[in-house]
């Protein structure tokens, strides 16, 4: 069988047979500990600066950010954003409990459906699991309440993120997944799909020059709920010297 042939060839190259049990145990222990490597200094900032850095990085990558004081303010902010962009007041949103609890009916002209996205949907509102400051990246793990198609099919992707869920480094966001998720069928913490999204879609395939709006969304708009006292402080803070 090819599996044995491949493993056999590798072992011949390594000049040994199957890994001795004690060495296999050491490697299994490394997997268990999954040690971190160097985390860049820019990801290790005080809370307020970290959130400010997240915002600056989203903007650097051609995304936009709007801060709102609480979850109740999200529907109005979304409706106003769509109006300002001259987009129709119709959207499909994640059927996530945090979004379910928001007062969408306060904007009766806004047509909202909670489901996965289809090809006809022009605007989506997704729920972010975490934000990662080091590159302005959103972590969007798939779940029944967070369908993947919302990240991809609509031309305008709006993502709701709580400031308290902004972390410094990718590793910290994965630690949140490790701590908070357990999949019934696989027994693991990884959902089927985890997208790390940094800005709207783009291509540099034509003459290696960046052009926004490839197959994914053309616009990425983050609505940041300031549920973290540090977020407010961060809004006013001077740009951090670490930032590049």
């Amino acid at each position: 069988m090819s599996k044995e042939a491949i493993l056999g060839a590798i072992r011949r190259g390594l000049r040994r047979g199957p890994l001795p049990a004690d060495q296999a145990l050491l490697l299994a222990a490394r997997l268990e500990r999954h040690p971190r490597h160097l985390i860049p200094a820019r990801a290790r900032l005080p809370r307020a600066e970290q959130i400010a850095l997240f915002v600056r990085h989203v903007e650097k990558e051609f995304g936009t950010v709007e801060r709102v004081p609480d979850a109740a303010a999200v529907p109005a902010a979304v409706a106003d954003y769509l109006a300002a962009q001259n987009l129709p007041a119709r959207l499909v949103r994640a059927p996530h409990p945090e979004l379910d609890a928001m007062p969408w009916s306060g904007r009766p002209l806004l047509a909202v459906e909670a489901r996965a996205a289809g090809p006809e949907d022009a605007v989506s509102v997704q729920h972010a699991f975490a934000g990662i400051a080091e590159t302005g990246t959103l972590m969007l793990p798939s779940a029944p309440e967070r369908p993947t198609t919302l990240n991809l099919l609509p031309d305008t992707a709006i993502v709701v993120l709580r400031a308290s869920r902004v972390v410094g480094a990718y590793e910290e966001a994965f630690d949140l997944l490790r701590a908070e998720r357990r999949d019934a069928s696989s027994g693991g913490f990884m959902p089927r799909n985890v997208m790390l999204v940094t800005g709207p879609s783009r291509s540099a395939d034509i003459e290696q020059t960046l052009e926004l709006g490839a197959h994914g969304p053309r616009r990425l708009h983050v609505v940041l709920i300031e549920d973290d006292p540090a977020a407010r402080a961060g809004g006013a803070a001077a740009p951090s010297p670490q930032e590049g």
Binding site: S2, I6, L7, A9, I10, R11, G13, L14, R15, L19, Q23, A24, L27, R30, L31, H34, H37, L38, P40, R42, E61, P95, A116, T135, T137, S142, A143, T149, L152, L153, E171, D183, A184, S185, S186, G187, G188, M190, R192, N193, M195, L196, T198, G199, P200, S201, R202, S203, A204, D205, I206, E207, Q208, T209, E211, G213, A214, H215, G216, G244
Partner: protein, 477 residues
């Protein structure tokens, strides 16, 4: 197998040098990559340290590759996926075709995958009545033009804007005549509109993988367009094509390498979409594929383990080496004659297809050392190319002209005064030609030997001489 023209590297290169449109595309494209990479790295002071970490992670993995592959496969299966272990390209083609047939697939969408190129998968599917649709913008136009990619991350590196317009007009015959493609934006919009329908109609989506994570059984793709994600999300079946050296132990190891990849590749801090796929749709999920398969390909790589070429298996396919290569910069990717161009291709191709067929490629170098200096996982590309040259030399495969060229080079290297004098002479005589390029296109003492490759302006510190001397001490020269 895709067509191999590596044995004709010299002819290919000569043709490339005489192709004015190609030269325009090459010189137009390169600067952008280099400047963006430079800026991204300047903004991350830890980059040099991260390169060492990246190298060490890959070395650790390769030293225990059997263990990590078995762990990876076990975790894919735990998550409900299937792993197809394939020793050869033929087995891998059969595995993909088998899946497509079983589910009755008629069209297959594809994300960018160099393994797919290595397999010649599109031709194989077409020959069996299945329509493959490339969805990466660069791959899409190459499929229309029926050309192979010329670069591992920017497949249409060799094309100019007019080529795009001409190809679209030829293929999209329903286009109104007044429709213009003056701007890149117009080209992008046309491709996006065309491909939307294909994404939705496909039965199977095939992607590559930048990494496989043993700990979780995940495959990782890194893209900017979103086409790879649509490919792996919308169809009923997702097939991942990955070679065995793509595995890394943990998510933390993967994150460390991800910090290197985008910066080295496109000069972005992070690509737009970095996506981890783990098995098929879960209970309650409202979207995602129902089946998840990994075609795990060896195709000669396991025989590199335990040889000096094991270092090449660290490669994360960022393309920095070709972006910085003076030879690639003038001959382009097609001249290399197989799937992988540039310095990484010059080392990898002989390993995968045989030195007898690709023995010319390691000569396509000036040994300027830039590729090694930029490689995010510190692969000693020049010395690996030298290894191949020596093997080729020993096997007497080198044609007499190249042999005398090599001898001349070796003589010059052993006589530093003459080398410097020769270089000075060349520099003096050819300053106008070479200025601003960091390389010279001809070298009076080497004549035909350097036609088609550049003699670098020797770097401060005599990099080449130092390396050569070291190699001699180690008994390799």
């Amino acid at each position: 197998m895709p067509q191999l023209t590596s044995p004709a590297f010299k002819e290919n290169a000569a043709r490339a040098l005489a192709d004015a449109a190609l030269q325009r595309a090459l010189s137009g494209s390169r600067g952008a990559f280099l400047a963006r990479r430079q800026a991204a790295i300047a903004a991350l002071p830890e980059f040099e340290r991260l390169r060492e970490i990246g190298r060490d992670i890959k070395n650790h993995t390769l030293a225990h590759l059997d263990f990590y592959l078995e762990t990876y496969a076990a975790n894919v299966e735990k998550a409900g996926g299937t792993v197809h272990w394939c020793a050869t390209a033929e087995e891998a083609r059969a595995a993909v075709l088998g899946i497509c047939r079983r589910v009755g697939a008629r069209t297959v969408t594809k994300g960018k995958s160099m393994i797919s190129e290595e397999l010649g998968l599109n031709e194989h599917l077409e020959a069996n009545g299945i329509t493959p649709v490339e969805t990466d913008l660069g791959e899409y136009i190459l499929q229309l033009r029926r050309e192979p990619p010329s670069h591992i991350i920017a497949p249409a590196f060799h094309l100019n804007r007019e080529d795009w317009e001409a190809s679209f007009r030829a293929a999209h015959t329903d286009l109104p005549r007044e429709r213009v493609f003056r701007e890149r934006r117009d080209i992008l919009a046309e491709a996006r509109a065309r491909l939307r329908a294909r994404f939705l109609a496909a039965d199977v989506g095939i992607t590559g993988a930048n990494f496989l994570v043993a700990e979780t059984g995940s495959s990782v793709i890194v893209t900017n367009e979103g086409n790879g994600d649509l490919t792996q999300t919308l169809p009923r079946v997702h097939v991942v094509l990955a070679s065995i050296e793509k595995v890394v132990p943990t998510l933390e190891d993967c994150c460390a390498l991800l910090r290197l990849l985008a910066r080295s590749a496109t000069g972005q801090d992070f690509s737009v979409y970095t996506t981890f796929s783990t098995g098929p749709r879960r209970a309650g999920d409202r979207d995602g594929p129902e089946e998840y398969h990994v075609v795990l390909l060896d195709n000669g790589r396991s025989s590199m383990v335990g040889t000096p070429f094991q270092d090449m298996l660290r490669c994360i396919r960022c393309a920095a080496c070709m972006n910085h290569c003076p030879v690639y910069g003038v001959v382009g990717g097609h001249a290399y004659g197989w799937v992988y161009p540039g310095p990484m291709g010059a080392v990898l191709t002989p390993s995968l297809v045989g030195v007898d067929k690709a023995g010319h490629l390691p000569n396509a170098s000036t040994f300027c050392g830039r590729c090694e200096a930029v490689c995010p996982v510190k692969i000693p590309l020049p010395s690996l190319m030298r290894h191949w040259r020596e093997r080729e030399f020993e096997r007497r495969l080198t044609p007499p002209v190249a042999r005398s060229g090599l001898r001349l080079w070796a003589w010059l290297a052993r006589h530093p005064g003459a080398y410097r004098a020769a270089t000075r002479l060349a520099a003096g005589a050819l300053a106008l030609l070479g200025r601003g390029r960091g390389a010279f296109r001809s070298f009076p003492l080497a004549g035909g030997w350097t036609r088609g490759r550049d003699l670098p302006v020797p770097e401060p510190g005599g990099t080449f001489l130092a390396r050569y001397a070291r190699a001699q001490r180690e008994g390799r020269a």
